[in-house]
Symmetry: C2
Subunit: 229 residues, 2 copies
């Protein structure tokens, strides 16, 4: 069984006060409903776990009805940090789940092909992440605003989601993170900690995350290009 | 005197065959005309030099008439590499030019405030570049598709244009590059070569460059938000 774990517990602070970015309307539906739809429609996904903030359970149930999502889903409770939310979500997976694709709730443009490619890579080597080669020219600063050097970007990738794992591997990796009292900002960093190789799966279409209001017109334009939106 | 140097000599290969990205229509005018307009309207810019491919001189003259650009401009010839085009453009500046703001022709969303901020920083320390902090999680690969480590992005910036300099400094820096037979992909890298400090000027609004067809809807949405477009 292959599960999707959608992390939808953050409120996001860069959108301004009192705005929950996951519920911003884009191309006719709330942002997080676009993300959910990818996995509801993906033939590679058997169940969906959404990690949400306490108090939001009803809202997500309403979303499922409003958009007629058909796949089985469960809700888990968000924790103080992303890694805690993922931990809680993993605990809510079906006992027969072998592979889990972890997705940022605010990243609504991942293609089903990309989801599938990360699942295949995770089956093969245990861990995989959607990624794109760094195209920008990068500079390192001295900690203020003066350049110290140009970074060689030839081996650099920016990583996104899905981040997809054999379930027992990501459980073991996050347990190690927690045991050591560390903080990781993405799930593959936990794998690095236990020496688990992670495959970079190159995404060929834009797969941005909503982080600030400036991102919204771009996301809107991408979502409007998707079939059936 | 402060000059703008717009590098508009590349054809861009990632847009597909036979498409000159600079002349793609976005928000009612060709891409490069949006870029040109920033400097035509900026109160901080006294003259404009456009570096163009041979054979394109008439087209750029027509653009100036069509969009009623009012500021004095000159055309210079593109070279085989970006650094050669910049070199040729510098040779075409007015002899009284003290500061030059070098802009990618395919980067049409730089704000006039950002142009001004780079000019002020270049006056102060000699060289400045529009930049944004890296927000993506970055990984280094082993050269294939396996992650070797997470990159500490806390001191990383992606650099854009304008890249703005005291004219004598960028001339000296590029002369050093040419004398050593080096290739640089951006003008601040030439400054690093001669030990010239470069100030990172943080841009607060998106300032992307058109590189592939996937970028066009985003650029269109940004340009449509600009006043007077």
């Amino acid at each position: 069984m292959t599960s999707a774990l959608i992390v939808a517990a953050g409120k996001g602070t860069r959108m301004g006060p009192e705005r929950d970015k996951l519920f911003l309307e884009l191309a006719g539906r709330p942002l997080v409903a676009h993300t959910w739809r990818i996995f509801d429609e993906s033939p590679d996904i058997n169940e969906i776990v959404l990690v949400v903030r306490d108090g939001m359970q009803t809202v997500f149930g309403d979303l499922a009805r409003q958009f007629a999502f058909r796949k089985e889903f469960r809700l888990a409770s968000g924790g103080p940090e992303r890694q805690d939310s993922v931990w809680n979500g993993l605990a809510a997976l079906s006992p027969t789940a072998e592979i889990v694709a972890i997705q940022d709730g605010a990243r609504p443009c991942a293609s089903m092909e990309l989801v599938r490619a990360t699942i295949e890579a995770a089956r093969e080597i245990g861990a995989a992440v959607a990624a794109q080669r760094v195209a920008d020219t990068l500079k390192e600063s001295d900690g203020t605003h003066t350049i110290t050097r140009t970074i060689d970007r030839s081996r650099l990738w920016s990583v996104q989601t899905p981040q997809t794992f054999r379930v027992e591997i990501i459980r073991r990796a996050l347990a190690a993170v927690r045991a050591q009292g560390l903080h990781v900002t993405d799930d593959t960093a936990a794998c690095e900690l236990i020496g688990q190789p992670v495959r970079l799966v190159e995404g060929l279409t834009p797969n941005p995350k909503a982080t600030s209001p400036a991102d919204l017109p771009y996301l809107e334009s991408l979502l409007r290009q998707r079939p059936g939106t």
